[in-house]
Symmetry: C2
Subunit: 210 residues, 2 copies
DNA sequence: GGATGAGGTGAACATAAGTTCACCTCTGAC
DNA sequence: GTCAGAGGTGAACTTATGTTCACCTCATCC
């Protein structure tokens, strides 16, 4: 969305909306001729005139002579950060997440500042079911972002593989031996019989109301 | 990040990394000549040969004859959704958020599926301080996404303007009269003396560990 | 009625950028 | 030693795309 404080004509808003939409869906910026085709203006110089006016109004920028270089301007544009695309699963079977991208049920796209991580192919997201972590304010339906390969530390929330299923628990050590704690008194601690398989450490959470 | 299952040469990985980086920062895709400049290959046909091989490996796609049409392919590419850029504030003074974009302290970029909203210029994000909403699993440091102009309903979490500050509370009605409830017994309910100013309804939350 | 701005037509031109082909060196495998 | 692949040079060509200019209609304002 663009600031509504600068007055614009109907055609200008149409152009800005097209650019906004193209950008938000990750497509390359359109050429002048593509803008014309979209809006029913079969004439590249009419489009060029509109672009020039929007540039003068400070609502977009172009690089002279460079193809597909139209960029919308907004006050928050300089505050934007890199965006990562994280595969979202209901559960994670064994194996590195990279080999499981094919089985993702969705994708979480978010900027690196908001999730506090650097992008790596070992990051995945997990949708939580149940209330076993409610003591740490993680509730049913939340999506948690997990960093695979990160060494868990005492107190970290981790995704662990138990009985072929991913589960979220707090990672604790007692006399050097790890165990998992549900953050809900309804559920007992889990002391692993076999070796504990930690799939990753929780780094962020995304919740939507519904 | 791209699937590591398809073997690639060093140069191919360099090209893919450049494309990945350009895409994640919201820049238009590079031309072949720009790729060459970046990697120190002053020769467009060498780049074109690499692109052709990557296309054959299914790792990227181009539209024949269309400028800047290189797009990375990945299994989660079809799962991606539109991304919105939401201004982030520490607090919101009075007035529609659009007029306040200049004062944003940051920007939350996230896909529409993850926050469950359609993009509008009335969406803003607020960083929470304090523990007044801990009963609803909203904790200090969380970032909440607020939809301005949405009519609050009984039980909604809202951003309200109190004493010139934004605060997050549960919106309740008693005999038709609204009041605000902190979700922490440490804090009393707020029955507004003057008219209650609701800045918006909470629609999503983003939390990062630190 | 004239001036101005919005919105457009048409055409031509310059440059950016994709495509193609012949040719080269180096390295590793057989 | 040969072959194939990786990685590249050089040049030329075609097409996409941005730029520019003259010109037009229509609506609104003074």
């Amino acid at each position: 969305m663009f600031t509504s404080s600068t007055p614009t004509t109907r055609r200008q808003r149409e152009i800005l909306q097209l650019l906004e939409h193209r950008q938000s869906t990750g497509e390359p910026p359109p050429s002048y001729r593509e803008i014309g085709e979209h809006l029913g203006i079969p004439n590249v110089s009419a489009v060029a005139k509109h672009i020039a006016v929007l540039r003068r109004k400070g609502l977009l920028e172009t690089t002279e002579g460079k193809t597909r270089s139209i960029q919308i301007q907004s006050p928050i544009q300089p505050l934007r950060r890199r965006i990562v695309h994280i595969p979202l699963f209901g559960s994670i079977p064994a194996g590195p997440p990279t080999e499981r991208e094919q089985d993702a049920e969705g994708c979480v796209s978010v900027d690196v500042e908001s999730v506090g991580i650097r992008p790596t192919s070992r990051t995945f997201a997990l949708r939580i079911t149940g209330d076993s972590m409610i003591g740490k304010h993680i509730i049913d339906g939340d999506v948690v972002v997990i960093e695979h390969g990160k060494e868990p530390r005492q107190g970290d929330v981790v995704a662990a593989l138990i009985d072929g299923q991913s589960t979220l628990k707090t990672f604790l050590l007692q006399r050097g031996r790890p165990f998992l704690r549900a953050e809900n008194p309804k559920y007992p601690d889990l002391i692993p019989g076999a070796e504990l398989v930690i799939q990753g450490v929780m780094v962020a959470l995304i919740r939507k109301r519904n």
